[in-house]
């Protein structure tokens, strides 16, 4: 058996960064407060001391330009990791991400690929209100030319960065901010992780709970509760939001004949809609009931705790919806 040890999601990310910086001289990290501050959410803590200011670069507050500089540095032979503090600020860099990073390879007819990794914190649950709490990773998954990852487990938190850096094309990694303090175990030795494919984390025959990120943990909790009621839910961690793993999704739904998607994005136009549409297209005749969705309320996130909780997907809502789907 492999040795394991206790750690946190935050430390797992930190380890992933450290390993990448050790393994490849071309790798460097840049973003706001990644260095002297110790990382906005302490993810990059200690790296400045270990790798120095050339490779751990504090940037000015210039999201568009340091993201674009990441693109340029990638074109120039480096393997940059650009950190954008929070997904809301990435809107300032969206021109560079969509109009440049995602299009260079295609516009140039295959001449110039952009091996860039962009990481950012995402999601609500910390009472940070309407300018710091959105879950836009599913929205980003609309853009061809980029890949979109969302690690929800310790293994993925540590392991996804390296293959993302090996990928010849831009990869966006979204880290749900509420998961940073999450505790768990990791094998002592890093095990390779793929950056494609969903994973079935919990088997079940009655209903597929399809989820990712922080909602995954709510789905797992819901599955446990449902198990107590005699309902066997299968829980899928999407992991990779673009491209989506249709095989795993459709395979599960073909077995359970019922699907509930849990997605922290605002409901309309969220990733959950795409998954529902794909199930419609690929497994319509397998369904015993319409696919349903538990998403965030369509509201810029309110600050007050009770309102924020009401806005976000919660275990009770997942359980109640699943129960209704089976019994009703």
């Amino acid at each position: 058996m492999t040795e394991t040890r206790k750690t946190t999601y935050r430390e797992a990310l930190n380890e992933g960064l450290r390993e990448a910086l050790q393994q490849d001289e071309r790798v460097f990290l840049m973003g706001e407060d990644v260095g002297h501050y110790g990382g906005c959410f302490a993810v990059s803590k200690g790296l400045l001391e270990e790798f120095g200011p050339e490779r751990i670069r504090d940037t000015p507050l210039s999201e568009s330009t340091f993201t674009g500089a990441g693109i340029g540095a990638a074109l120039g032979g480096m393997r940059p990791i650009v950190e954008i503090m929070t997904v809301n600020f990435s809107l300032l860099a969206l021109d560079q991400i969509m109009n440049n990073a995602a299009t260079y390879l295609h516009m140039s007819g295959g001449l110039f690929n952009v091996p860039l990794v962009i990481r950012m914190a995402t999601g609500g649950g910390k009472q940070l209100a309407a300018q710091h709490s959105h879950s836009l990773e599913g929205w980003y998954a609309h853009i061809p030319g980029i890949k979109v990852l969302c690690p929800a487990t310790m293994e993925d938190a540590r392991g996804m960065l390296w293959p993302a850096l090996l990928d010849p094309d831009p990869v966006l990694i979204f880290e749900p901010a509420v998961l940073y303090p999450m505790e768990g175990t990791l094998p002592e030795k890093p095990t390779p992780v793929a950056i494609e494919g969903a994973k079935v984390l919990h088997q079940g025959k009655d209903l597929s709970l399809i989820s990712y990120g922080s909602s995954l943990h709510k789905s797992l909790a819901a599955a446990e509760q449902l198990a107590g009621e005699g309902i066997a839910a299968e829980v899928i961690d999407l992991r990779c939001l673009r491209p989506l793993d249709d095989t795993t999704i459709i395979g599960s739904v073909s077995k359970t004949h019922r699907a509930l998607i849990v997605d922290e994005g605002w409901r309309s136009g969220s990733l959950s809609a795409e998954i529902s549409a794909r199930i419609m297209e690929q497994a319509f005749y397998q369904l015993d009931a319409p696919v349903e969705r538990v998403c965030s309320a369509e509201v810029p996130m309110p600050y007050a705790k009770h309102l924020e909780e009401a806005a976000l997907p919660q275990v009770e809502t997942i359980v109640a919806t699943a129960r209704r789907m089976l019994n009703g």
């Binding site: 002297h36 110790g38 000015p60 507050l61 940070l128 309407a130 600050y303 309102l307």
Partner: protein, 326 residues
């Protein structure tokens, strides 16, 4: 030269305002630890002279756009401690019914347009408010407060240019506290003398000691007078320092305790207090009375916030769109 009586009374009023902000925020920090306030909480402690001084140059008809570090700005615009504290509690009687929290204070009669938590995000909005005034023939000024970190954002450049190009009455009030979170000014700007930034836009500028409320007031009045006369923008840099961490999650690895201590020697409240004491205008009793008054106001605000109701959860999706027609 001895000051006039009215001047000294005025100084006392400035001192009082600064003290109100200080004590209110000290209490807020406590309440944060007590988990009554959550989310991000950015304290203005050490920088009070800036908001207080600048506010003196503005009238009730003028507008203010501030950042997430804006409790002081809300107060000097006349917002009650009650409304702010209740907001930070997330309560219905908060200025934004608990939806905004510490980073998003808004007020209609205060003409306070946020509380904006996107660095630089308030600058274009301020330009637009000034444009509206110009188009409507209002003789008003819009004051945009922002940290020196925002100077690196593209929106700073675009906003300075647009305000200058269209000759709009914006007071760009830069609060240079030397750090953007943990990033020192030298790590974010190639030219650290910020007043040199404005030549490229033809915008007049000045820098002032942001630890001296009287100096800030004078500089701000000068700035606003220039704006009212030219109709165009002005850039005022107040050189200041925050005594506390950036927010409640900051281990302050990026600066030395010594540096912080040295700046604390220049505490705007202590300094003005000492001056007034030396001039014989403030004795211990008067100071104690002031402290008492402020402490009472803070206590009242906390009590108010504690008692206030929560917005019913059923109202969650209200204010995504307006209830009424435009």
């Amino acid at each position: 030269m001895s000051k006039q009586l009215t001047d000294l009374e005025h100084d006392l009023a400035l001192l009082r305002q600064m003290l109100r902000i200080r004590r209110f925020e000290e209490k807020s920090a406590e309440l944060y630890s007590a988990m009554k306030i959550r989310g991000f909480l950015h304290l203005y402690i050490g920088e009070e002279a800036v908001a207080v001084g600048v506010a003196e140059a503005l009238g009730a008809e003028d507008a203010v756009v501030a950042t997430y570090r804006e409790h002081g700005h809300a107060m000097v615009r006349g917002m009650s401690m009650r409304a702010i504290m209740a907001e930070m509690y997330g309560k219905l009687d908060g200025c934004c019914r608990g939806r905004g929290g510490s980073m998003h204070l808004f007020g209609v009669k205060e003409r306070l347009y946020g509380g904006n938590a996107i660095v630089g995000g308030g600058l274009p909005v301020a330009v637009g408010l000034a444009l509206a005034d110009k188009l409507q023939g209002n003789n008003r000024v819009t004051c945009c407060c922002f940290g020196e970190g925002a100077v690196a954002e593209g929106e700073f450049h675009e906003s300075m240019n647009l305000a200058a190009l269209w000759n709009l009455p914006v007071l760009f009030a830069c609060e240079n506290n030397l750090y953007a979170m943990g990033t020192a000014l030298e790590l974010s700007e190639s030219v650290t003398n910020l007043t040199e930034k404005t030549a490229g836009y033809g915008v007049p500028s000045a820098a002032v000691d942001g630890m001296d409320v009287v100096a800030v007031e004078a500089a701000a009045k000068q700035a606003v007078a220039t704006i009212r006369q030219s109709g165009g923008p002005y850039f005022l840099e107040s050189r200041t320092y925050r005594f506390r961490a950036h927010s409640m999650f900051d281990p302050e690895l990026y600066r030395s305790k010594d540096e912080v201590e040295q700046w604390k020697q220049r505490c705007p409240i202590e300094n003005l207090k000492t001056q007034l004491q030396q001039q014989g205008w403030l004795d211990d009793a008067k100071w104690a009375a002031l402290e008492k008054e402020v402490a009472d106001e803070v206590a009242d605000a906390v009590a108010f916030a504690e008692q206030s109701d929560w917005e019913p959860v059923e109202e969650l999706t209200r204010f995504v769109y307006s209830d009424r027609e435009g």
